[in-house]
């Protein structure tokens, strides 16, 4: 069937610069660059996904990818995008698929919050000269500790629940082997070890070669139970039950059979080439008490040595759900906002289901405090953190730490072209094609991830010191250091913020 879809980008090739070296041809798995019989290279705009791989590698800077949004007659309702979706479905009869997080221009609340700084009455603290502490313990804490005196020395008389200690309140979010390449997993694992933080296997199991990074690994138990066995649980520092994901709340996961090669097959414990479909709910969890059973099954299986996290997507009733999860025995609650990424999701779900992480953090933290159970769980927020300012604002709203997914991928080369579900990632990230995968060198991936988190941590220390604080726990939930700008009173109320310009109170 002839497609009515119009190309969205224009590939400009400067013929004065192009030397027909065919680097672009080899680099593009979408075959947007082609060489003709005479050895001359040309391009086909409609195939281009704007991932910028060819532009980055062109030795003579001959290529430019330009926005070429199709012109459709002015119409706020029937935009080029809405028409494109209809054409697509009219041609295929399928569900619209996409990758990464919600790209729609919903309010980004981070950009409506301003941080505080000290002047005169309390001095700012210089992180270059004074200690600035970002260390964070994730896990359940008691409300109080008991001390007994032994030979005049205080000794702890309270047994503490297992904790994850992170040197900086930034962890890497769940991205499964299968959805992402082995090199990505290795890069994340090595960077985590180097940084003193954790990466998360997602639902794809832990590749055998990465077991040595177990002490820096959070393993996931998702509804498909892929790759879950006792050594897997034993290897990890913590276990995360995945209930939901911000990009696609309410549905399961889907790894197409093309991405299931020998290694993915072995790791996930499924046949080569078979689709890995994790169901929408866990088939043993139909209520909060069922969740509690799974939490305690995992605790029993690991002899209460590891914190158990429960990851949910940020949905309308997130605060009450989080409270239930805390009471069900979870040590950590991970909340994924609607800008959280994914390897594959139905477009309509990604773009229309769930709520922003900013509102979810505030609602959950407030609820847990109202119920006086905030100590019982740690809260990890996820879903589209773009920079260190987003992170520090999340902590001021009440998160203990954040998960980075998309930002970590971008650090490794991702240009957010949203084609992850095709398996043709030219950057070697969201692919299992050995030819593409080897483009991502795990050494380079690990170094780039390390640099990113190191840079962000420095910035967080700088901003923290500016506020006159020298320990991250003094900012956690300290919403007085945030002011809102351009928000409605309802939004301010949910976020627990005052307007910029209002005095300290």
């Amino acid at each position: 069937m002839k497609t009515y879809q119009l190309p969205e980008v224009k590939i400009e090739r400067d013929k004065d610069r192009c030397i027909d070296c065919q680097v672009c041809v080899r680099q593009c798995a979408f075959e947007a660059h082609i060489v003709d019989e005479d050895g001359e290279v040309y391009s086909e705009d409609e195939k281009c996904v704007a991932c910028q791989r060819c532009v980055s590698l062109c030795p003579t800077n001959a290529l430019t990818i330009k926005d070429n949004k199709p012109f459709v007659k002015d119409n706020a309702n029937w935009t080029a995008e809405t028409q494109k979706y209809i054409w697509k479905q009219a041609e295929t009869g399928g569900v619209l698929l996409t990758g990464m997080g919600n790209p729609k221009p919903y309010p980004i609340y981070w950009d409506h919050m301003l941080l505080n700084a000290s002047q005169v009455t309390n001095p700012s603290i210089d992180p270059l000269r004074e200690p600035m502490e970002l260390r964070t313990y994730l896990g359940s804490k008691p409300d109080k500790i008991d001390i007994k005196m032994v030979d005049g020395e205080p000794v702890l008389n309270t047994k503490l629940a297992p904790q994850l200690m992170v040197k900086t309140p930034i962890l890497f979010s769940a991205m499964s082997f299968g959805a992402v390449s082995y090199s990505v997993c290795e890069g994340l694992a090595r960077a985590s070890k180097e940084l003193g933080t954790f990466w998360n296997t997602g639902e794809g199991g832990l590749p055998q070669n990465l077991y040595e990074y177990g002490p820096n690994t959070i393993v996931q138990v998702a509804s498909g139970r892929f790759g879950v066995h006792s050594e897997y649980l034993d290897a990890a520092a913590a276990i995360e039950i995945k209930i939901g994901q911000g990009a696609k709340p309410g549905i399961g996961g889907h790894l197409p059979g093309e991405k299931v090669g020998a290694e993915v097959s072995r790791t996930r414990m499924i046949p080569v080439g078979s689709d890995a479909i994790s169901p929408a709910p866990h088939h043993d969890i139909y209520s909060i008490e069922d969740l509690s059973q799974l939490i305690f099954s995992l605790k029993e299986a690991t002899e209460y040595t590891k914190p158990i996290s429960v990851k949910i997507s940020a949905v309308h009733n997130v605060a009450a759900i989080a409270s239930g999860i805390a009471r069900a025995g979870a040590d950590i609650i991970a909340i994924d906002g609607f800008r959280g990424g994914t390897g594959a999701a139905p477009t309509m779900i990604r773009d229309n289901v769930g709520i922003p992480i900013e509102l979810a953090i505030a609602a959950v933290d407030t609820r847990l405090r109202d119920e006086a159970i905030r100590n019982r769980v740690s809260v990890i927020a996820a879903g589209g953190f773009r920079n260190s300012a987003d992170v520090i604002k999340a902590i001021a709203l009440g998160a203990d730490a954040v998960y980075l997914g998309t930002a970590a991928l971008v650090a490794m080369g991702c240009h957010v072209c949203q084609m992850c579900y095709t398996g043709k990632c030219n950057w070697g990230i969201a692919t299992q094609d050995p030819y593409l995968e080897k483009r991502l060198n795990p050494d380079v991936a690990a170094e780039r991830l390390f640099n990113l988190v190191r840079g962000w941590s420095h910035e967080i220390a700088e901003m923290l010191g500016g506020m006159g604080l020298n320990a991250i726990e003094s900012l956690r939930g300290n919403r007085l250091h945030l002011r809102s700008i351009g928000l409605s009173t309802e939004e301010m109320d949910i976020l627990g913020l005052q307007a910029a310009g209002s005095p300290m109170a």
């Binding site: 309390n122 603290i125 200690p131 502490e133 804490k141 109080k144 003094s474």
Partner: protein, 378 residues
């Protein structure tokens, strides 16, 4: 308080404290002189004191010091007090006219015991008293209970501290511990209740500094049922000590380690040296992170059994201590100590976050902890 807009105030300050660990009684004249030396650290917008051992004849009663905007506020409060307490005596707090201290609210004190049936509430006596104080302070317009301990009292006003001390005739009281405070607020609330000390039960806090962690300290304390009605930094310090010392039974040293925590590098080093106490410090930070007081501060805490001086973990505000015989002195400046004591045995600058602790040699038994201890021993 209801109907008032009290913005949280930030201020610089001067503070001083003196204590006889033998429990010898001293007139309030000394602390007034000590504070007078620190005149320049305040700006006349608030001064106050707390004395311990000042009501020996009624040491089993809670002494409620209350300021009223008008007689209507008193009438409303009296109804609540009669409901919650048995009142042994009720009187105007004696004052004298002093140039420097302006129009006073109505200042009353009551010596009370919880109503006979308070046990039905299922809370301990101290929590009952706190609930009553918080009820009055948060619901009765124009009434403010600014002191609620046994055998102790807070006295505060708008004015320079030395004038406030004379106004309240502190030279006529005798106590074994005195703490004093002069404010340098950066705004002018003009409200007597905003002066230090801040008290709850017998905990009295004078404070120089700004708690930059206030936003989370307040939310943290709210989980334990405290209502931060005053919107001041200092209030959260008082409640934090009440939580850690009275309700969680932590030793004073460890309560101070929770509020002005050791740095992780120090804790790690202690761990490497095999010191067991490092585990305690680590646990304190994990569990009491929301209570950590961050930002510049120096405080003196007075309580029935002693006095504690503490600065923030990088000591951004001054604090000096000295000892002579049974006396412990703590002040913002050494001059305030030298003014009232000569031939000191020892004068030192306590390190950042390191508490200076004075304790009565024979403790007063009025806390849960002591009671429990006595019961165990018995």
């Amino acid at each position: 308080m209801k109907g008032r807009i009290h913005r949280r105030n930030i201020s610089g300050c001067g503070l001083a404290g003196m204590m006889s660990e033998d429990g010898r009684l001293m007139s309030g004249e000394g602390i007034i002189r000590s504070m007078e030396v620190l005149h320049d650290r305040s700006n006349g917008l608030g001064g106050g004191f707390a004395g311990y051992g000042i009501y020996p004849d009624r040491q089993d009663h809670y002494a409620l010091h209350i300021m009223y905007d008008d007689i209507k506020a008193k009438e409303m409060t009296d109804v609540l007090i009669d409901e919650w307490f048995e009142v042994d005596a009720e009187e105007v707090i004696p004052t004298r006219k002093v140039p420097g201290v302006g129009k006073a609210p109505l200042l009353w004190r009551y010596f009370v015991k919880p109503s006979a049936d308070f046990n039905e509430c299922g809370v301990c006596e101290e929590d009952y008293v706190i609930d009553a104080v918080m009820l009055v302070n948060s619901t009765v317009e124009g009434a403010f209970i600014f002191s609620s301990g046994k055998n102790m009292g807070a006295f505060k006003a708008v004015g320079f501290p030395e004038d406030v001390g004379k106004f309240y005739r502190l030279d006529e009281y005798e106590g074994y511990t005195w703490i004093g405070h002069g404010r340098f607020p950066t705004n002018t609330p003009g409200w007597w209740g905003g002066a230090h000390p801040f008290t709850i039960l017998d905990w009295a806090i004078v404070h120089n500094g700004e708690i930059s962690s206030y936003g989370i300290n307040k939310r943290y304390l709210e989980m334990f049922g405290y209502k931060c009605t005053m919107l001041t930094d200092t209030e959260v310090v008082a409640y934090s000590f009440d939580l850690l010392l009275r309700r969680h039974n932590l030793p004073i040293e460890l309560a101070c380690k929770a509020l002005a925590a050791s740095f992780w590098t120090d804790i790690d080093r202690m761990k490497a040296q095999g010191k067991k106490v490092a585990d305690v410090y680590e646990a304190l930070r994990m569990v009491y992170g929301g209570g950590l007081l961050n930002g510049p501060f120096a405080i003196i805490l007075g309580h029935a059994n002693g006095m504690v001086g503490l600065s923030d973990r990088v000591k951004l505000r001054p604090l000096v201590a000295a000892r002579k015989d049974d006396m412990l002195y703590i002040a913002s400046e050494e001059s305030a100590i030298r003014e009232v004591a000569s031939g000191l045995d020892k004068v030192w600058n306590p390190k950042a976050g390191e508490p200076v602790i004075g304790e009565l040699r024979i403790p007063v038994s009025n806390t849960d902890a002591v009671r429990e201890l006595e019961e165990t021993v018995a």
